[in-house]
Point group: C2
Chain length 80, copies 2
DNA sequence: CTATCTATCTATAACTA
DNA sequence: TTAGTTATAGATAGATA
């Protein structure tokens, strides 16, 4: 099992990238879902897999609704 | 400290919502960052806080670039 | 309200099949 | 390859300041 602390840097092995992406993608979506429910907030998550495929998550509302909410913000509220 | 398993349902206490949102928001952004680095993929995260304020994260590219990549996908690739 | 601490829960890298 | 297991690293709820 894991014996050392994980280094956050690009994985080189192609198979390993895909396995890691698949597992962490699930974990990330789960966390996003929990946040949206616990705090009753809008969360949208857009990811492109290593092979370029799209993955989406949105809590409460649809992706389109959340993106629209973002796009419609006044300019000065959009800069992070 | 925590003695029981957390139930994923809306938190009722207002102060607690804000504290939980703040902590989990950090955790979610960290996970999104790690995924983007480990797997070298585009990740965009859009959240609205309980008070309606915007929080953004994007790995590798800007939010605008990732949203553009999403919007420009052919229709049949956009449905989750 | 904000920041830190820590016991406990959860995610997951390496492993097995 | 993909799916399941498990031990350890990592996240975090509640406590404390």
């Amino acid at each position: 099992m894991r014996r050392v602390k994980l280094q956050i840097k690009r994985i080189e092995n192609t198979t390993n990238i895909q396995v890691t992406f698949s597992k962490r993608r699930s974990g990330l979506i789960k966390k996003a879902y929990e946040l949206s429910v616990l705090c009753d907030v809008d969360v949208a998550l857009i990811m492109f897999s290593p092979s370029g495929r799209l993955s989406l998550f949105s809590g409460n509302k649809s992706i389109e609704e959340i993106l629209a909410r973002y796009v419609n913000l006044p300019e000065h509220e959009r800069g992070r």
